[in-house]
Each structure stands twice: as structure tokens, then as C-alpha cells.
């Protein structure tokens, strides 16, 4: 149903966005050709655009049933082989990236695993400034650095092309590192609860080797993450445009992006359909994996959570980050963000320009400071909206499951085009376009956690005591599910800021010379090797924001103030940009030893 709606929406894209496909096709074929009426008419006749869109769509669908996905409007070549080829390359890249991501995730929670399996975790909070920084790094930055340092200057690995396994390493790293950091953070979030479960205590008492305990703890937590891993699989296959471009990989991301911009509907429809199919497959596998790991326990409601880990000790770290960010902003505000001076272009950091200057000789510090408010404002608003939507829809997994799979498979540019087509291009369109996609991983996370929580014994007990569904939701389910999801949402904040900027080239969102952070990154990207500071400074600001968000969620308060009582409400933190404090809510993602589930 949803897939059908999506294909229909793509089929109607030109009519929704009120952009003549003949024109975009002509521009894709030959950018400099003047669009005179005779030429456009010839293209319209050639593509059969005079027919109404529904008949075009019907024809294409009819062909699809016979295994013929039509011919590309731009190149007039068959679509299916081209899409299959691109899908192959993308899947391979994705597989490499997932391997890297799993290793990164392992490294991220290695400390927790090591300590936890030896019962030395104590009240330690999540570490993870490092992984938060990694999670906030834009893919293109990692890719640029890898390509120019490892590929070009050191010459260790090929920096370009797609000719064999050796060519996979750098792009897979560029994609896998940030992804792995996010997955690792989510895992790290769950592990401490697993280690406080009775089976872990029992295992320790019986002298079960720590490695074995660690393995079982991972197994306990995996079901909460598998659905998200499935989302990443699809996202990496269809949405790695920046990396594909820089390493010149003929993948699906670039193919669909080009098709979306040229409104080459047969290619766009086939590419999206392939992604939707992949999403369905990945979701199925994830569901199967979850069932294998915890199935019987889920069915019997036999997961029990007796212990709740003590909230991690509040730390001063987030205050330091917050202060650092505030200082940067305060120092930059008196400076002029728009004053350009082309004789001072690409200056290295100095006393006059502490963060150097950009390609037009503007002070980078000033631009970061002035862009902070709008960037944070919009990104936070989008994050909050995504969080709200994600949690609400996550509570209704039957409804949201297929929706998530479909939405996640839609390339972000296509989503933006569809949103613009439907909502028009107002000041909030870019935010809407990003929010439309951003909620899906949060919903997945929510429903994954919820499924486990519903099967806990203490819930059964509460129910037996006569609690109604509302009471359960408010006092048991939400308190257990919200904190990890909120932390997840915060982890994605920098990504959202970047996503907003990425829509600029459609004429949506911030326009130059606005100092919005995403725009700063985008406009200085070509100079990343000559003037790394112009990219690194805004990237550092973003990662600082990421680190702040993550650590603040884990205890953003001065050490003397202790939470008195577990409460349900999510309170704003004492410092940091409205990072909800979450550790007061109870960790209850608990269950018996996985060995029970056989």
C-alpha cells in the first residue's frame, strides 16, 4: 500500500513540483542547451509526456510486471541493468561499511563490556566523548581526509574508483566510522542495564569467564539495535551520495540523486523500488534476528527486570563542553560574519583570525558564532519534532513499521522534492523535509525497546495489580523507553544540521552568505585540503555540540545536586542547549539471561 503510494507520488513528481520534466531532462542531457519551445516539444513527444501522468505510471507498472522497467528518459538506455549494476556496487559498499561500523561499535563499547563483564562498572556513566565526536563528523569530511591523506599523500590505498576490494577500504571507512559510532553509543546505552541483571550476577558468582558474560550481554542488547542496523543498511545503500561522489563509485545514491534532479522518473521509480524492497528484506531479517534472540521470552512475557542500574553519576564534563561552545560563540559575536576581503582568503589561524579565514576572506570564528543560533534553533526544533513523532509512532509499531521501512528507503533529495511539491517552498519547508525522514530511526528504536519492555515480568505484575494501559504507559513503559531514545535523538542532532544544509542546492533553506553551520561546511568543502581550518572549525563546533548533547543527557548537572526520586517527566537539563536530562527515568530494558530464551 505504502509502496504503491510512494511509486504514485514519484510518478506524479513533476506535476507535484510544477517543474516541466522536459526541461529537467534537457538540462541533464546538455546543460548549456537553450530550452527553446521546439526542443522542449520534441522531448515531450519523445518521452510521451503529453499523456496524463496516471497512464504513464500505468504503462511503467505494466512493463515492470513483465520485468521491463522501461528506458531512462535522459539516456534512453534500459533502466534495469543500470539500476542492478548500481545496486550491486552500493550493496558491496554497504557491506564493507557495516563491517567497519560493527567493529567501530565494538570499539566504542569495549570499555563498558570489559568493566561490566568484570562487575567493575559501578556507577560509571557512559564515556563516549570520542564516539560522540565520531558520530557527529560529517561523512564527506571523513571521506575527504581519508582520500587526501591516505589515498593521495601517503598513497597507501587507491583514492578513486571501484575496481576491487582494495578500492572498498577507504569509502567503507568513511561510511562505517560515523555509523558505527552511533550504533556503538546506542549499544553502550543498553549494556550497563544488562550487566545489572540477575543472570550476570549469578554468572559472576559461578565464575563464568568475563568474555562469556560479555557475549551474553551483547546478545541481550542486540534485539534493541537490530532494527536500527537494518535502517542503516538501507540508508547506507541509497544515501551515500557524498562518499560515492568523492571516491567516484557508480552507486545507487548518485544514480537516484541524478534521476531525482533530472526527474528521470523510470530510473527514480526503479531505484526507489529497489531500496524499498531492500528495506523490507532488511526489516524482515532484523525481525527474524530479534525473534531468534529473544522470541520465546517475548512471547511468554518472561523477561524480568528486578534491578535498575543506578543512574550514572552526574558529571562536570558537559558543563565544560557547554562553556567551551559558549566561549567560542561569545568571542565570535562581536566580529563581522559577512565582511569579506578577498585579499585575505584562506588565511591560516592567527591572532587576528583565531580560526582562520574562508575562501572569501571572512573570519571563520565570526561565522561560526553568528550561525550558531539559527543552526541550533532549527536543528533542535527538527530534532524535537522528530523525537515526538518518532516516539508517538514508535508506540504503534503495527502502523509505523511499514511506514518506517518506506520512508527510510526514500532518498533524502526525493523526500525534499516531494515535500516541496506538496507544501510549497516556504521558510519551514527544509525543516519539514528533514523532519519527514528524521523520525524513522527514533520510531524504530522506540518500538524495539518497547517490545522488550512489554514482555517484562514487572509489567505483568503491575498489570496483575490492576493497572490500566494508561498507567502502564505513563509509569512503566515511557520511563523505560524514553531515555535511550532521547539520547539517540541528541546523537543525531549534528546530522540534522547537516541534512538541512544539504538541501540548500535545491534552493531550500539557508542561502549564502548566511553563516549557517551546514552551509559553512558545504561552501568550504572544496578547500578542505588547502584550508582545513575552514571546514574543521565548523565541524568541531558541530562535534562539540554532539558531545555536549550526549554527555548532557547522561548527567548534565552540578555534582552536588542529586536526583531525589525517580520521576517520569523529562526535565530540561541545567546546562546545554535544552538537552533533556534523562537518567532520572528508570533504566528498565532488562531481561533474564539470554540462555533462558532457548
Amino acid at each position: 500500500m505504502l509502496t504503491a503510494a510512494l511509486v504514485c507520488a514519484i510518478g506524479l513528481l513533476p506535476w507535484l513540483s510544477r517543474t516541466d520534466p522536459a526541461l529537467t531532462v534537457l538540462k541533464a542531457r546538455s546543460a548549456e542547451r537553450t530550452p527553446d519551445p521546439a526542443t522542449l516539444r520534441a522531448i515531450r513527444v519523445e518521452l510521451g509526456l503529453d499523456e496524463d501522468p496516471f497512464r504513464l505510471l500505468g504503462k511503467w507498472l505494466g512493463g515492470l510486471l513483465r520485468g521491463d522497467a522501461g528506458r531512462s528518459w535522459v539516456s534512453d538506455t534500459e533502466v534495469l541493468p543500470a539500476v542492478a549494476q548500481a545496486l550491486g556496487a552500493s550493496l558491496l559498499l554497504m557491506a564493507g561499511a557495516v563491517v567497519v561500523a560493527v567493529l567501530t561499535a565494538g570499539a566504542t563499547c569495549a570499555r563498558t563490556l570489559w568493566l561490566g563483564s568484570r562487575r567493575r562498572l559501578g556507577g560509571r556513566g557512559p564515556g563516549g566523548t570520542g564516539s560522540a565526536v565520531l558520530a557527529a563528523l560529517p561523512e564527506f569530511l571523513v571521506a575527504s581526509v581519508l582520500a587526501s591523506v591516505v589515498g593521495v599523500q601517503l598513497g597507501w590505498l587507491p583514492a578513486l574508483g571501484w575496481y576491487g576490494p582494495r578500492w572498498m577500504i577507504l569509502p567503507a571507512l568513511a561510511l562505517g566510522l560515523p555509523t558505527g559510532a552511533i550504533l556503538g553509543r546506542m549499544l553502550d546505552d543498553l549494556l550497563p542495564s544488562a550487566f545489572t541483571e540477575p543472570w550476570a550476577l549469578a554468572a559472576a558468582a559461578r565464575g563464568v569467564p568475563p568474555a562469556s558474560v560479555a557475549r551474553q550481554a551483547l546478545r541481550r542488547c542486540a534485539p534493541g539495535l537490530l532494527p536500527n542496523l537494518a535502517l542503516f543498511v538501507v540508508g547506507l545503500t541509497g544515501g551515500s551520495v557524498a562518499v560515492e561522489t568523492l571516491f567516484d563509485i557508480p552507486g545507487l545514491g548518485r544514480l537516484t540523486l541524478r534521476a531525482a534532479l533530472a526527474q528521470d522518473l523510470p530510473v527514480l521509480q526503479t531505484g526507489t523500488l529497489a531500496l524499498v524492497a531492500l528495506a523490507a528484506l532488511a526489516a524482515l531479517l532484523a525481525r527474524f534476528g530479534v525473534r531468534r534472540l529473544t522470541g520465546p521470552a517475548l512471547r511468554d512475557g518472561a523477561l524480568h527486570s528486578l534491578h535498575r542500574p543506578t543512574p550514572p553519576a552526574p558529571r562536570v564534563v558537559p558543563l565544560v563542553y557547554g562553556l567551551l561552545l559558549a566561549t567560542v560563540i561569545a568571542l565570535g559575536l562581536p566580529r563581522g560574519p559577512l565582511a569579506l576581503n578577498t585579499t585575505d582568503r584562506l588565511q591560516a589561524p592567527s591572532w587576528t583570525h583565531p580560526f582562520g579565514t574562508d575562501a572569501l576572506g571572512r573570519d571563520v570564528l565570526a561565522r561560526i558564532a553568528h550561525g550558531a543560533l539559527s543552526t541550533l534553533g532549527t536543528a533542535l526544533a527538527v530534532s524535537a519534532a522528530a523525537l515526538l513523532t518518532g516516539v508517538l509512532l514508535g508506540l504503534l509499531p503495527r502502523l509505523s513499521g511499514p511506514l518506517v521501512d518506506t520512508v527510510n528507503a526514500v532518498p533524502s533529495v526525493l523526500a525534499a522534492l516531494l515535500v516541496t511539491g506538496i507544501a510549497g517552498s516556504g521558510p519551514w519547508t527544509p525543516a519539514l523535509a528533514v523532519a519527514v525522514v528524521a523520525w524513522s530511526p527514533l520510531a524504530t528504536h522506540t518500538s524495539a525497546l518497547l517490545r522488550q519492555e512489554r514482555a517484562t515480568l514487572h509489567l505483568t505484575a503491575t498489570r496483575a495489580l490492576g493497572a490500566g494501559p494508561w498507567y502502564l504507559l505513563r509509569h512503566e513503559l515511557l520511563p523505560a523507553v524514553l531515555p535511550p531514545v532521547v539520547r539517540h535523538a541528541l546523537l543525531r542532532l549534528p546530522g540534522i544540521a547537516l541534512g538541512l544544509a544539504a538541501l540548500g542546492f535545491l534552493g531550500l533553506g539557508a542561502q549564502p552568505p548566511s553563516p549557517e553551520w551546514g552551509l559553512l561546511l558545504a561552501e568550504n568543502q572544496p578547500y578542505v585540503e588547502r584550508a582545513p581550518w575552514a571546514v574543521l572549525a565548523p565541524a568541531a563546533a558541530l562535534t562539540l555540540l554532539g558531545a555536549l548533547a550526549v554527555t548532557a543527557a547522561g548527567g548534565a548537572r552540578l555534582p552536588r545536586r542529586r536526583p531525589k526520586q525517580p520521576t517520569v517527566t523529562v526535565r530540561p537539563a541545567d546546562s546545554g542547549p535544552a538537552a533533556p536530562s534523562a537518567e532520572t527515568a528508570r533504566h528498565a530494558v532488562l531481561a533474564p539471561a539470554p540462555t533462558d530464551s532457548r
Partner: protein, 500 residues
């Protein structure tokens, strides 16, 4: 550690099976056969074939740059038509038709280039729909006259027909290249020094030398062409030695190349600020003059293009070597009036990263002069329809003044005449129209150039356009490569003398 998921293991096991998912490297042909000739050249081109190598669109340029195709004529450095497949030509019926005498040449499939084959090739091109840009609106017909002559006619007098025939759109292929469906298969059917042997989608192509080329055997034994759309990636390809020649290195990347590999040449491209003369505040010629006086083109050339562009002197830049000597001062300019904080929107596109930067420099210069300036930046495809409908007050646009016809007057007619199809300034001025029409009717090349310069002066006099810079293009050429062709009209790239 964490046990990998089952489907991951499956994925890893499948990896060897998925080898087909990698691109084929194109290096499978005998590399450097060592017969005293140059080895194979590896080149990186910027524009991937969009239409499966159809010669009737932009892909024709790629075919021409790789030395695959030729027309009856070609453009020399001055922009005049010189012999290619045709040895000589003359006009008949007052320029309505032209008779071309062919040279002795062979197609890459071994057959002779006959008058019949050439006439049929041109007829196919004329019948293509949409019509190739070079002959759009011309109604070209071609017929063989004897064995070695072809008569090409237009519906109306066409003094620039030999220039049009230099366009790769009108390249000649052997009869077997033309399929029933109207498509042209360029693999091994053209006449140039290199023959396409293998096409790998729109990512790569393999070419071998064509030994029977009429202009002598090429020195390189073949070409491995890669299409790399990202400028940084092209620069990286050259730096790692993956390719010998990389075309169109973006200005931002030039500094990362070794000095000895950087080669620049003037092109017929300008970046200009077009002012909307029909709607908004720039209807007022005084304000257009104020904008012109506010703009310092040297700051753009140096600050944005890092010297890989020259401050503009007019519509025709140094790539058209005749222009500078024939230039006359603009006539009839209005006196500048104060903008008094009036607000304007300047549109530009991000496909060329230098354009948004230029626009920001202009923004500051204009704001200093008293305008209030807003920018609108999109990709070109998303911008063009709005550009052509008087939506913006001004636009920063890069434009090739030689266009597809290879004739300097065509661009005046399309960009500045009332009926022009790409009239971004929406200029409609009787005097300009008259002068452009007069230039278009002139058949003697030198007089045509004089007339074009007169029209240029009148156009600049209206201040409808403010030329900013004449662009140069940087080609990255590995130090071991000799004889690469730097063509200001961007139609040639690898020639018979290019070797490694």
C-alpha cells in the same frame, strides 16, 4: 567480541561472487605494447555521457575530445573553419548551399568515406529530433555530388554553415552506425584517430588507435577514458597517477596539483552579471550604470578565480584573438543614479562553485554602493526556468560565447535580441537588434567580426550586461605526457601527437 550477524557472514562469503559489482578497470587491453610508440593514455573527463554517446547532444563533445569523431570542418585557434574531412569548400547560390570536397579517408570499420556516406550522415543528423543545437532552425539538407563532393544546403542564406559543420553534432559515421531506431552506434564507426572499442555504461570507455587515420597514425596506442564528475576526485586521480590527463580542474583544486602539471588556456566563456531590464529596479538605466560602476571585476578575477580568469573587457574575451584589436568603446551609456538602499535579488547557481563566491563578492560591492542585495543560489537545472521569466533582478551566469555554431554572432542574437531565446537581461533595444541582424548577415569573416564588435559596443552601452571575467580552464597534465591539445573551444583534447 560481538558475533557478526548471519547475514553479514553471508555477505562476506558472497563477496567473491559480487566481483561483478565492481567496475571493470579498462586496463585489460595490452598496455604499452612497446613497439616504439607511446603507451596507452589514461584520461579523466568531467562530463559523463548523458545520452549513451549519441553524437547529437552534449556527448558529441566527449567523442570529439577523445578523438573519435570528426566533422567536415574543424575550428582553428582563431575560431575560423579549417579543413577536416573536407579538403575544401565553396559557397553557391549566395550562401544558400555549400559544396564540400572530401579528402581520402576511411571509416574505422575499414570502409571508405564516400560522398554518399557523408550525405547520409548529415541527413540523419538533420532529421534528429530534437534537432542538434548547431543546426537548430537551419533545415539542413545534404546530397552527394559525384564521388567526392557533398552539397549541403540550408533553407536560407547561411554564411556560417562551414562553422556549424565543425560541431561534433554533425560528425560523420559509417552507414552501418545508423540503426533503424534512429540511434547512432559510435563504436568503431567514426573517422577520428581513435576508435571506441568498449563502453562501460557512463563511467568509462576504452579506445584503440585507428591505424588508417587520414592524418597519420596517432602516437598513443589507445586511450582509457574515465568520466569523473567531481572536480576534487579528478584532481586526486591525477595526483595519484591514476590518470595522465584530467580535464577541467576546479580553481579550488589547482593549488593542490604540482606546478608542472597545471596548464591553463583562455576559453570563450565569460562570467557576467545580467541585469533585468524589464522588471524591477534595473529597468532604470541609471541604476544599471550605478551597478556597473560599483563593480570591481579585478577583485572577482583575483579573489575568486585566483587569477585563472581575466577581468572582462567586453563580451568577447582573449580566446577570440581578433576581438581585442577591433573593440570600440561602448556607446550611449546612461549616467549613474543613486540606488538609495533599493533592494535587489541576484540569482546564481552552484554547479560551478566559483559562481556563488563571485555573487557574494558582488553583493558586498553593490551594498557598498547603496544597494540592498539578497542572493538566491540553486542548481542550474532548478534555476533556469525562473531565470528566463523575469523573476530576479540580476543573475550571475557563466556563458560560452561561441555556442554550438562556432559563430560569435549567434550568441548576440540569442542573448541580447528581442526575440533571443536566452535573453537573461530581457533586453529589447531597436538599435541592438539592428546591429545584431546586420552582423548576422555579413558573410566575410573579418567584416562579420567588425559588425559583431559594433553590436557588442551597443549592447554594453545599454548596461544590460556587466561582463565580469573571461574564464580560463585548467587542465592537469602529467609530466610524462607530451602533446595534449588545449583547445579554447573545448572540442579537442587528445590528438594524434598526444603521447606518454
Amino acid at each position: 567480541m560481538r558475533s557478526p550477524r548471519p547475514h553479514l557472514i553471508a555477505g562476506l562469503l558472497l563477496t567473491p561472487l559480487l566481483a561483478g559489482c565492481f567496475s571493470s578497470s579498462g586496463h585489460d587491453s595490452s598496455s604499452g605494447s612497446g613497439s616504439g610508440d607511446g603507451g596507452r593514455l589514461s584520461v579523466a573527463l568531467a562530463f559523463a555521457p548523458a545520452e549513451n554517446y549519441s553524437p547529437y547532444g552534449q556527448d558529441g563533445i566527449d567523442l570529439s575530445r577523445l578523438g573519435v569523431v570528426e566533422g567536415l570542418t574543424r575550428l582553428d585557434a582563431n575560431g575560423t573553419a579549417v579543413p577536416a574531412l573536407a579538403e575544401s569548400w565553396s559557397s553557391e547560390q549566395d550562401g544558400r548551399s555549400w559544396v564540400f570536397t572530401l579528402r581520402d579517408a576511411k571509416f574505422q570499420d575499414g570502409t571508405d568515406v564516400t560522398a554518399k556516406a557523408v550525405a547520409s550522415a548529415l541527413t540523419h543528423a538533420a532529421a534528429a529530433d530534437p534537432a542538434p543545437a548547431a543546426i537548430s532552425g537551419v533545415k539542413l539538407t545534404a546530397q552527394a555530388v559525384g564521388d567526392d563532393q557533398v552539397k549541403v544546403s540550408a533553407a536560407e542564406t547561411d554564411p556560417v554553415l562551414p562553422l556549424r559543420l565543425a560541431n561534433p553534432n554533425l560528425a560523420v559515421f559509417s552507414p552501418k552506425a545508423y540503426g533503424k531506431d534512429g540511434k547512432v552506434n559510435p563504436v568503431g564507426t567514426a573517422t577520428g584517430p581513435f576508435a571506441l572499442t568498449k563502453i562501460t555504461g557512463d563511467t568509462a570507455a576504452t579506445l584503440d588507435r585507428f591505424d588508417d587515420y587520414w592524418g597519420g597514425r596517432a602516437q598513443a596506442s589507445g586511450i582509457d577514458a574515465k568520466f569523473i564528475s567531481d572536480g576534487t576526485a579528478r584532481a586526486n586521480a591525477l595526483r595519484t597517477g591514476d590518470v595522465d590527463i584530467a580535464e577541467a580542474i576546479p580553481v579550488a583544486q589547482v593549488a593542490s596539483l604540482k606546478k608542472a602539471t597545471v596548464h591553463q588556456i583562455n576559453t570563450a566563456r565569460n562570467t557576467s552579471l545580467f541585469l533585468n531590464t524589464q522588471a524591477g529596479i534595473f529597468k532604470d538605466a541609471g541604476l544599471r550604470a550605478a551597478a556597473r560602476e560599483a563593480i570591481d571585476t579585478a577583485a572577482v578575477a583575483k579573489g575568486v578565480f585566483e587569477g585563472y580568469a581575466e577581468p572582462a573587457k567586453g563580451l568577447y574575451g582573449p580566446a577570440l584573438s581578433w576581438a581585442a584589436g577591433k573593440r570600440t568603446a561602448p556607446t550611449g551609456r546612461a549616467k549613474a543614479t543613486s540606488p538609495k538602499g533599493k533592494s535587489i535579488t541576484i540569482a546564481t547557481y552552484s554547479d560551478r562553485p566559483e559562481l556563488p563566491e563571485s555573487a557574494q563578492v558582488l553583493q558586498q560591492q553593490l551594498e557598498k554602493a547603496g544597494f540592498t542585495v539578497k542572493l538566491e543560489v540553486r542548481t542550474y537545472a532548478r534555476l533556469e526556468s525562473d531565470l528566463l521569466t523575469e523573476k530576479f533582478d540580476a543573475a550571475v551566469v557563466a556563458r560560452n560565447v561561441m555556442l554550438d555554431t562556432g559563430d560569435p554572432v549567434t550568441v548576440l542574437a540569442s542573448d541580447f535580441a528581442c526575440a533571443g531565446s536566452y535573453n537573461l537581461a530581457f533586453l529589447c533595444d531597436k538599435n541592438v537588434d539592428k546591429l545584431v541582424a546586420a552582423a548576422g548577415a555579413e558573410s566575410d569573416p573579418s567584416k562579420r567580426q567588425d559588425a559583431a564588435m559594433k553590436a557588442e559596443a551597443a549592447i554594453l552601452g545599454t548596461d544590460a550586461v556587466i561582463p565580469l571575467v573571461h574564464l580560463k580552464v585548467v587542465t592537469g597534465i602529467g609530466t610524462s605526457v607530451k602533446g595534449a591539445v588545449l583547445d579554447p573551444y573545448e572540442r579537442e583534447f587528445v590528438g594524434t601527437g598526444t603521447r606518454r
